[in-house]
Amino acid sequence: MRKLSLYPVGGKYGRYGGQFVPETLMAALSELEEAYERLREDPDFQKQLRYYLSEYAGRPTPLYYAENLTKKVGGAKIYLKREDLAHGGAHKINNTLGQALLAKSMGKRRVIAETGAGQHGVATAIACAALELKTEIYMGSEDMERQRLNVFRMRLLDAEVHRVESGSKTLKDSINEALRDWVTNVQTTYYLIGSVVGPHPYPVIVRDFQSVIGYELKEQITQKEGRLPDVLIACVGGGSNAMGTFYPFVDDKAVKMIGVEAAGCGIESGKHAASLYAGAEGVLHGMQTYVLQDEHGQIQTTHSISAGLDYPGVGPEHSFLKGIERAQYTVATDGEAVKAFLDLSKNEGIVPALEPSHALAYAVKIAQTMGRDQIIVVTLSGRGDKDVEVVAKYLGVKM
């Protein structure tokens, strides 16, 4: 069932990916690769993972036909893959449960992770609490201010949260700090990366664990509609929910795949986070991929209303899919995302996170141009409770 056509030979997807890390980490990456190669084929491990995904995380998540929205838009049928209903409120749990089980099987008792908005940090803390692993989370001080609620949530879940004061004090810097911790404590520590980014084998590990989204969706849409969708749409920051959605469909050439990045205040403003759409090839956080950088190769600071998309790089497999034109990448602005956030809340009673609101914004745009017999599936990667304050502020509403 699992496609090996895109297994990265030598850690590469075409020319993307790889292992651009300090020598100290090379041994740890091979150890991880060996462990993962063994466990991905191991029936006991897979059984354990399935158990936690269903009994603990609440999978499978529904594929919901957004009938009201579809009628309002007038065009293609819009389905939502409800990752917002997974435990923790986002797709992040699929990956953290998988990797926490992997860490445990490798005999590592200390887990570190980076987090931007706090969603991956919370999902890591949840998985590690369930599996009795010690957790330490790196989070930019800027992000800690913006997401105080998630900081407290992580602490409730018994994770230690480290404040990162270096660089731009956001996600990119918390990854740097987690890598520095890992270089120092590599013998005892598992680094649990939150997206399909970083050095090989992380992009493949995270993609595999997130592929549960696409495999479920494929089965569900086939049951409901008797066929595959015409278009899959997902938001792309690092790109884990998009990769998990796309991967099981890569060989189904009739299914169009569209990733939506954050255009922030608009691409021309320079304040955005659209690495694939507006970046250039580079090397960051261990991988060769599209990166937002200046002419000298310095990584740029990014902007998006949604903290989860606020990252200057992107998973290497997305760069590859863009290169071979198997997937398309486009953008939605802060304003478009907020509008989609409001539309879905009002019409369907579902408050989406701001990240997938970008995907929704684009879905609405193209649904209008499509026939009523056509099908779009949007991956609703998380719920929007965490974003209510941000949206109120954006709209100038006093709560």
Binding site: E23, L25, G167, V183, G282, L284, H296, Q298, I299
Partner: protein, 274 residues
């Protein structure tokens, strides 16, 4: 024979180890760097390692991170650092290596980068986030421009890997002394001494062995050199002097010179052991 190799050979004849001194190019301001490098040379540094500042230095601790921020805020670019090398090379024959993360090199393009580096007289390159597996094209272009490719080995490097890294490296082998990032440390760990012992059989007769990360005091340098390593790399110690005196150029230069001198003395092996 290339300059770095020659330097190690001459030092060996004199029964000395090499003092390799690192500073971040452009810290605190680009116009200071040539004077700082000159002070290091006057103090006795045998090889200079000049850093190209990069926005995301994952192998560096707080001291060098802060230096990077100062240099970038002062407008330092990769080309400017290469020009600094050229300026120093006009007056001195001391080998100069450049330390940079891979993205600035990648962004400029391998061909352009090495062409500029060669024109500016750069003798070798250290790229801490470029392991040998990713270095095929890099090595090919470096060879074409006759610039040494200095690779790193770490405490976690297996002997099998160590053998491969020694094959790839030229100029010297950069041995990372500890698990961790750059920065001054109180003392040389036993791990470091064992690491030198582990590496020497692979390097002896092939390539000089220099040890870096956490080496900041004369007694550290002495420990490294008496354990038969060929060189000691000191970075954060100098960067701290720059940080402390960034408003007072004269004092900065004096202190750097003095510090380099003390460290250099520690590389001189006991004459009676000759």
């Amino acid at each position: 024979m290339r300059e770095i190799e020659k330097t190690f050979q001459n030092l060996k004849k004199r029964n000395e180890g090499a003092l390799i001194a690192y500073v971040a190019g452009g810290d605190p301001k680009p116009e200071y760097t040539p004077d700082i490098v000159e002070a290091l040379i006057d103090g006795g540094a045998d090889i200079i390692e000049l850093g190209i500042p990069f926005s995301d230095p994952v192998a560096d601790g707080p001291t060098i991170q802060a230096a990077t921020v100062r240099a970038l805020n002062a407008g330092t670019t990769p080309k400017m650092v290469l020009e600094m090398v050229s300026e120093v090379k006009d007056r001195h024959r001391v080998p100069i290596t450049v330390l940079t993360y891979y993205n600035p090199v990648f962004r400029m393009g391998l061909e352009d980068f090495f062409k500029s580096a060669s024109r500016c007289g750069v003798d070798g390159l250290v790229v801490p986030d470029l392991p040998i597996e990713e270095a095929r094209d890099y090595k090919r272009v470096a060879e074409a421009y006759e610039i040494d490719t200095i690779f790193l080995a770490a405490p976690s490097t297996s002997t099998e890997r160590l053998r491969k890294i020694v094959e790839h490296t030229s100029g010297f082998l950069y041995l990372v002394s500890v698990f961790g990032v750059t920065g001054t440390r109180k003392e040389v760990q036993e791990l470091t001494v064992n690491l030198i012992r582990k590496a020497l059989p692979f390097t002896t007769g092939k390539i000089p062995l220099a040890v870096g990360f956490g080496i900041s005091k004369p007694e550290h340098v002495r420990t490294i050199i008496t354990n038969e390593a060929d060189g000691a790399i000191v970075g954060s110690r100098f960067v701290k002097i720059i940080e402390k005196n960034r408003e007072n150029n004269d004092e900065m230069i004096e202190e750097i010179k003095k510090c380099a001198h003390e460290l250099k003395k520690a590389t001189i092996r006991n004459r009676s052991s000759e």
